[in-house]
Amino acid sequence: MTDLGKTPTRRELLTAIGMIGGTAALYQAMTTMAHAAETQFAGPPNLSGARKGATVIVLGAGLAGMLAAYELTKAGYRVRILEYQNRAGGRNWSLYGGDTYTELGGATQKVQFAPGNYLNPGPWRIPHHHRTLLHYCKAFGVKLEPFIQFNHNAYVHSDAFGGKPQRFKSLAADFEGNVAELLNKSIDQKALDATLTAEDRDKLKEALRDWGMLDKDMRYTKNLRSSEHRGFDRPPGGGVNGSPIPSEPFAFKDVLDSRIWTQMAFFMNYEFQTTMFQPVGGMGMIGKAFGAQVQPLVTFNAKVSKILQDKKGVTVSYTDTSTGQAQTARADYCVCTIPLGILNQIESNLSDPLKAAVAAVPYSNSVKIGLEMNRRFWEEDQAIYGGHSFTNQEISLISYPNFDYLKDGPAVLLGAFASGMGAYRLGGMTPEERIETALAQGSVFHPAQYRKEYRNGASVAWSRVPWTMGCCARWNEDTRKQHYQTLVGIDDRVVLAGEHASYVGCWMEGALLSSIDAITRLHKRALEA
């Protein structure tokens, strides 16, 4: 480090590029320097020099809205946030013991979890490449811990094996072992002679033997080698019975019937690769930390009814739902993060193309159910520490808590994460019926313990969440083409932000990236005005 100050470091160089060329140039440079290829995040927005007295009204105190308020305030704007709920965080949310939640239709649940336990109804895991979110977690003091995404020892339940769940590792091992053996046969039968050179065929055979746990005859059979992947009948131990006993691979037909490749492919997906994180104490810690930064700016219980812009500013009409009083707020500009399904119902003079874009995007549904159990039987009895067991039933999976391992006392597992048609059916049930369904379906994994150890539960069906009335915006190829650029464009004095205004839909990262992009353009527009 003797030449410090002479040659610019990479960081100094990048900072300089960022200041000169803005975030796009910085991103380009970072990519060229083999940095940041996994994210479009190039650091917090570098906004400054807002006109004296310039004002912005932000609609919605979710992550997108709060980030906009935080950064615009830093840039010199006077900012105010209107929020429908009586809490900050939006879909970033955890339910704890003592919380009360009333869904659309009026069903009220009083959450009874023991202290320290929680349900994350919305976001619950953070990919390692969601750099914007990680940046602000660090900046706002949110402590993270690993989210166990991939657990070889969890179960997969399907119609195969007479409905008996099997360990992921055994099914995956048998799938890969059989594929390796068959591909090797194809090589031996000269099926690949036209495709591969002799040298590459030899390498591939070596790879198949190593990867597929094949024996010296290139067969996938019952032996210690295949058991190193799929698990043993008797695992290695100490003393007189220390020698391991191998396990018998499943019939390949059953392995195929289990469709284990769908789970294997799920774990391959970019958004679901390890490392993943969760905040210590519940996902809602992120919303709370953002909320602490912008607390004085937020007006809670504000139900927006009208958004009208004119040549000089934006007027937002809202009702204070705690008093029923009609109010208005006015500012030079507006960042609107209201979910599209709700914005679509709010009177406005936004441009017709923007209105059409807002109306064109449907929302998904999903249902999450938390079940508190007397003890961690999945750990104590079945050696499952975090991760997911998958099922083809509507609950889709059960997911085990990723903290407080080996602890005595009650713990909450995620008893359902339903989507699509399963989520509609569960969402249409009463909270009591949802719990009963979750117990019935989840019992396939832990038949002896599930109902016996159950204490209490809570559920959130996103179609009935009063402040979103849906889970996430769902774009398709046509709507992206027809409406996306309009939706993210600045409509005179109003700009939309949120996960719906991103290609990282249904993730907090999408909300934040969208917000940074929206306020950067809005700031530019304000300076040019």
Binding site: A265, N269, S396, P466, N476, E477, R480, V504
Partner: protein, 139 residues
């Protein structure tokens, strides 16, 4: 190729198809085995009431879940058919998810329940005429 080879090839192709980029935070490959509702009431209970509520009265939060109960718009069967087919606002279209027969049954059901009395049953053919193609892949 043998039959087994074909199955493997199919499995590998399926793997490639499934691992598409930019996926939302979803549960993964599970949950596909859902009881198939047949009658209009079954379709309503397992799909529609998740938003429109068990009594068909909808609900009000930051926005409105429209009521189907005593709704004069149901007088023309085409209205609910097109709504189910194409969706509106946050409501997704159900072409490709609900069959024309299921849609016909549930349209008949909501037009004869919840204080609506539009007696004529809606046929599968009427639905097919308005249903259209399923939406393209999500992105």
């Amino acid at each position: 190729m043998t039959k087994t080879h074909l199955r493997i090839a199919a499995a590998l192709v399926a793997m490639l198809l499934i691992a598409h980029p930019g996926r939302a935070d979803e549960p993964g490959p599970g949950g596909q085995k859902v009881p198939k509702p047949v009658t209009g009431e079954q379709v309503y209970r397992t799909v529609c009431q998740s938003c429109h509520m068990a009594d068909g009265k909808g609900a009000e939060g930051a926005g409105r879940m429209p009521a189907l109960a005593a709704n004069p718009r149901l007088a023309a069967a085409a209205y609910p058919i097109v709504m189910i087919a194409k969706g509106r606002g946050a409501m997704p279209g159900f072409v490709g998810t609900l069959s024309p027969a299921q849609a016909a049954n549930v349209v008949t059901y909501i037009r004869t329940h919840f204080g609506n009395a539009y007696a004529a049953p809606v046929t599968e053919a009427e639905v097919k005429a308005l249903y259209g193609a399923p939406p393209p892949a999500e992105r």
